[in-house]
């Protein structure tokens, strides 16, 4: 319990730090909401007046403090460029991006773990060389390119989905999930390749250890030992790796949402950065950071279940 409480405190602290960094980064880069809003209508006087009106002339600490206070009281502020409450703006997109992340994550787990175990079992076999080559290829292809290929194959040629016509998640959930599935595949492929390779090498490493030799010498077959003893030990680093994958999925999602024209958080984030729409950027950055940190926390808790010794160290 104490452990969980500490994890949650860490989570909150991380989010505050992330939001602070985002705030400061925005202050350093040139261009601000006033110039972005005025565009080519901008004159120094107009910019100054608008800055004053938007409260941008106050010191950074004051503005950040105000935002933080609002955040903890459930007020995310108003978008500069859409004149709408931030929450109203991002709420419909949170679900979409969450689905995209979760589907990608499930794909990675469901495909890579059996595949990794199998490739370890048949390491050195006839298909091993081909498998390694495909794996290498999978790692090298960036999601946006896979995205274009998938669209060409499944939308332009096979008409399994209509690129650019994303069904509303609430009205046509099946259609929306199907659309997201194709996008998820392009996010998942490189991560699957990495996870498979990692799992394979950890298993092969474990198989060299003494306890495996002992188990086999006691008459167990290799397959039994692999599933009953080795897998458990090999999974710990893999679970940690998968948690880190969440960050990659989020980053990949930003690109893939553009390629597949999915109206998710990633696209809004990119546009809001260009418009210097701080309140929206802050909210999205914090949400994404929350996912990533949460994934890490869950991974630690799962690892503890797999290997209770980890709790004794208490250092997570």
């Amino acid at each position: 319990m104490k452990y969980a409480a500490r994890r949650i405190a860490m989570l909150l602290l991380t989010m505050v730090i992330v939001s602070l960094l985002a705030f400061v980064a925005f202050d350093i880069i040139s261009g601000d909401p006033a110039t972005a809003m005025l565009g080519t209508q901008a004159t120094p006087e107009k910019i100054e007046a608008l800055r004053e009106e938007m409260g941008l002339n106050r010191p950074l600490v004051v503005r950040y403090g105000e935002w933080l206070l609002g955040f903890f009281t459930g007020n995310l502020g108003t978008s500069y460029s859409y004149k709408l409450p931030v929450w109203q703006l991002i709420a419909p997109k949170v679900g979409i991006t969450l689905c995209l992340s979760v589907i990608s994550f499930l794909l990675i787990v469901v495909i890579s773990i059996p595949l990794g175990v199998r490739s370890a079992r048949y390491a050195g076999g006839r298909l091993d060389g081909a498998g390694t080559a495909i794996n290498q290829l999978g790692m090298a292809v960036p999601p946006f390119f896979t995205g274009i290929l998938l669209t060409w194959l499944f939308s332009t040629t096979l008409h399994w989905f209509i690129h650019g016509q994303f069904p509303e998640l609430t009205k046509n959930p099946a259609g929306a999930l199907k659309y997201l599935l194709f996008a998820s595949v392009s996010i998942a492929i490189p991560r699957v390749a990495m996870t498979v390779r990692m799992l394979k090498s950890t298993i092969l490493g474990e198989m060299q250890k003494n306890y495996v030799r002992t188990a086999i010498s006691r008459g167990n077959d290799r397959k039994g030992v692999l599933y009953r003893h080795v897998l458990k030990n090999a999974l710990v680093p893999v679970v940690t790796f998968l948690a880190q994958t969440m960050a990659e999925i989020v980053a990949g999602g930003i690109v893939v949402e553009q390629v597949f024209a999915i109206p998710g958080l990633g696209r809004l984030l990119v546009a809001s950065i260009a418009n210097r729409d701080y309140p929206v950027v802050q909210a999205i950055v914090v949400i994404l950071a929350f996912w990533v940190v949460l994934a890490g926390t869950i991974a630690d808790l799962i690892n503890q279940q797999i290997d209770p010794r980890l709790q004794l160290g208490g250092d997570a």
């Binding site: 261009g31 901008a42 008409h159 016509q165 599935l181 553009q258 546009a271």
Partner: protein, 507 residues
């Protein structure tokens, strides 16, 4: 083993059902459904990221879309003329200072109210800043008084005679004291605003009580797709029917389902030079760059030959102000460029930077060709990509740049909209152009009421920019529009708008 097989089978059939069972279909099917419903989906490359209030909107992409929703007393046509819209007619007093508009009978707002004189007074006063606040539309700051003479007559008084004033009367007429224009706009145009989802779409519907020729389409959805590849794929998949501002590369990928209409973008694309910083404070250097640049070469390499070369800050759609002889004022001549550079004290050339906003691919492509062309005369140019916000702050407002490749547009159909910006005292004279002669010509043009004489003065201003090599003028970009076969009636305008009122499905 059996259990496993069963699991795989189940999973497989589930996946199959999900993938094929949801009734999506081929591009033909999708678009046929839409055509039956008389709906059109238009792709746009950026969100309408500002308030939708037409008096506040600055983004060209927003005005382009909302042109279908709002109208002024007058309205521009595709041929560059002005026709009465909310007004039926107008008269000008003998001293050219008072414009009296008679309102058209029975013009309705999208909320069902009839347009009354007080709405017009409210709209004009709001833009002109007569209610004590800053003028929302700068051009209208000349208005000194606006009043309702009777229910259908409005008199507008301006400070000094101007034959351009009437073209400012395209400013949108809005219902008086309606305060949600920025999120739920209401106008009098042929389409009414229905909804908007940030970074996703904007939906317009036919306005049944429109006073003029009814539109053909029942519903238009503008879909926001920023990614260039995604735009093309969405056209191919049938998700969108029409998309403007495509590049020739994108057009090549489209295939047989589309007709391509070619119009002009109505922008003055140039390598704008900061006339106040060395070495561009020397006219010989500026002229050398003009000789060094081969406009047709830029069009051929970066735009597959599309586009219209220009020689000054007026683009061809401006008709009477456009002077063809200026296009080739500086014919491509490497030797001449080199000798001018030597004369100016740069026999071995120099290094310079070209600032380009990173969200405008055509300008980036242009800059890349320019770098090669400049290298031939010994000038080493380096492209600096900056974000749009940074460009506005640093280059446009801060005037902190050496050269920049961008396109400048005209907010209305007056030469003034393109030329006033380079008068030395103007707040947005970002190139620091400083020519006493130019300023004097502008003063004269403002003071001249006779149209022919004024046109000559504006043409002299344009020629002044060319002769002093204020900028390295390149082209007005071609506007390539992909229109799905079976959709017709698109008209191009000499300003940056996308008029959907004439677009229809062919029978």
């Amino acid at each position: 083993m059996k259990k496993k097989l069963l699991a795989i089978l189940l999973l497989g059939s589930l996946l199959g059902a999900v993938l094929t069972g949801c009734g999506d279909g081929s591009a033909e099917q999708v678009t046929e459904d839409r055509s039956a419903a008389n709906e059109l989906v238009v792709g746009i490359a950026q969100d309408l990221d500002n308030s939708l209030d037409p008096h506040v909107v600055v983004a060209a992409g927003t005005k382009e879309v909302m042109f279908n929703v709002f109208e002024g007393l007058m309205k521009p046509t595709s041929t560059g003329d002005l026709i009465p819209a909310v007004a039926e007619d107008y008269t000008v007093s003998d001293d050219h200072l008072t414009y009296t508009f008679t309102l058209r009978e029975g013009v309705k707002f999208h909320n069902g109210d009839t347009v009354a004189a007080e709405d017009v007074v409210y709209s004009i006063a709001r833009c002109a800043g007569l209610n004590g606040s800053e003028p929302l539309v700068e051009a209208l700051s000349v208005v000194t008084d606006v009043k309702a003479v009777d229910e259908r007559t409005v008199a507008i008084t301006i400070a000094e005679p101007s034959n351009e004033f009437i073209s400012y009367m395209t400013t949108a007429i809005l219902p008086a004291d309606y305060d949600r224009q920025d999120t739920a706009p209401v106008g009098t145009g042929p389409f009414k605003f229905v909804s908007r989802a940030a970074q996703d779409n904007i939906v317009l519907e036919k306005f049944d009580e429109y006073w003029g020729t009814p539109v053909y389409l029942d519903k238009v959805t503008f879909k926001i797709i920023e990614n260039a590849d995604s735009l093309v794929m969405s056209l191919q998949s049938g998700a969108i029917d029409l998309c403007a501002h495509l590049t020739s590369t994108q057009i090549d990928q489209l295939g047989d389902d589309f007709n391509v209409a070619e119009g002009t973008m109505n922008l003055v694309q140039a390598m704008y030079l900061n006339n106040a910083v060395a070495p561009f404070d020397d006219i010989r250097v500026r002229q050398a760059l003009c000789y060094a640049v081969d406009k047709q070469g830029v069009l051929d390499i970066a735009f597959d030959g599309y586009g219209s070369p220009i020689g000054t800050s007026i683009y061809p759609a401006f008709g009477k102000y456009f002077d063809e002889s200026l296009i080739d004022y500086y014919p491509h001549n490497v030797e001449k460029a080199k000798s001018l550079l030597a004369e100016a004290g740069y026999p071995d050339g120099f290094t310079m930077s070209i600032t380009v906003p990173s969200n405008y691919q055509p300008h980036i492509d242009t800059a890349q060709v320019l770098v090669e062309q400049l290298r031939a005369v010994g000038v080493e140019a380096k492209i600096e990509l900056v974000e749009w916000g940074t460009w506005v702050e640093e280059a446009y407002v801060g005037r902190n740049f050496q050269s920049t490749v961008v396109g400048v547009d005209a907010s209305n159909m007056t030469a003034r909209a393109l030329l006033e910006r380079f008068t030395s005292a103007y707040g947005k004279n970002f190139i620091n152009y400083n020519s006493a002669e130019y300023d004097a010509l502008f003063e004269q043009a403002l003071a001249t009421y006779d149209d022919a004489a004024q046109t000559e003065l504006y043409k002299a201003m344009a020629a002044d920019l060319t002769k002093n090599a204020a900028n390295v003028y390149i082209q007005d970009l071609a506007d390539l529009v992909a229109v799905r076969k079976g959709v017709e009636g698109l008209n191009f305008y000499p300003i940056y708008v996308l008029d959907l009122s004439t677009v229809r499905y062919a029978d």
